[in-house]
Amino acid sequence: MIETTSCIDHHMSENEIDKIDIQILRLLQGDARRSFKEIAKQCKVSADTIKNHYNVMIKKGIIRGTTIVIDPKQLEKKYLVFIGIQVTHPYSDQILNMVKRISGMCVVTRAIGRYDIEAIAIQDDIEKIGITKSTISDFQQVKNVDVDILVDKPLLCPKNFELD
């Protein structure tokens, strides 16, 4: 899995993660429930070594936690939507805070590009998506709101983050 060493050495000094850390992250990215024993076997070190590396990465904040990714459509028949908002400048944090308070918001961010504010939200049904869109549109300073619906299940990159 790890082919080049020079590259890793570079990362080691810069980001303070080593070859074993990278292997642990790679294996857990694919399945966070893998046991330390199983990871140890693949890395050809002891399970305690893996456990120590894991705990250090937790302590440093490199690993923020482990989670499962669920398909909201399957579970609750809900929709994931992307919302792009264009506003008239200059704009205050008021709009950002207003968007944040709308129910179902997962991620809200300022953005540079076509939109000034971008958000990702979980919505119950198409009707709710319409209400959310008009709530945002009604706000002063909001020029335009685009809503895109995510279809099928969202895919996770199998090797997200270039670690090596």
Binding site: H11, E14, N15, I17, L25, L28, Q29, G30, D31, A32, R33, K60, G61, I62, I63, R64, G65, T66, T67, I68, V69, I70, D71, Q74, L75, L80, F82, G84, K100, M105, C106, V107, V108, T109, R110, A111, I112, G113, R114, Y115, E118, I120, I122, V147, D148, I149, L150, V151, D152, K153, P154, L155, L156, C157, P158, K159, N160, F161, E162, L163
Partner: protein, 149 residues
């Protein structure tokens, strides 16, 4: 406790910590660990649980910001493009989209040359017609367990 409640309790526990042992969840719910294990496998098979993964802080491993790519593709080729996009390292999550774009990809980015490289790579993919870029600043996660960023 009815069937759905057990499923929801399993999902809630694993969302907070995917490494929670089935034994511990079983003890909390007062059912057998085998029940939890069977339910977990079924939830995976049914596609409710897509995956379990580790949440890494990108800022600590050399990434600076998050970028969203809104991609327009030749009609009916979304699936092919999505398949290619999801193979790109740095892309956290991608999905088919209905609206002004056909595919959405959210990626962590190291710096501007990296961003330009990613954009060019996507543009050069077959069937891709247009790529729109939105760089995220001051990103707030309101519900981190729902959408993986």
């Amino acid at each position: 406790m009815d069937a759905d409640k057990i499923d929801i309790a399993i999902i809630d526990a694993l969302k907070k910590d995917a490494r929670t042992s089935f034994r511990e969840i079983a003890r909390l719910l007062k059912v057998s660990p085998d029940t939890i294990s069977n339910r977990f496998e079924r939830l995976k098979k049914e596609g409710v649980i897509i995956n379990s993964t580790v949440v890494i802080d990108p800022s600590l491993i050399g990434y600076s910001f998050i970028t969203r790519f809104g991609i327009n593709v030749k009609p009916a080729y979304s699936a092919q493009v999505l398949e290619k996009i999801i193979q790109l390292p740095s892309v956290i999550v991608a999905s088919k989209l209905v609206g002004s774009h056909d595919v959405i990809a959210i990626s962590v980015v190291k710096d501007f040359p990296h961003l330009c490289g990613l954009r060019d790579t996507i543009l050069e993919m077959p069937y891709v017609e247009k790529v729109e870029v939105g760089m995220w600043i001051e990103t707030m996660e309101l519900c981190p367990h729902y959408f993986l960023i």
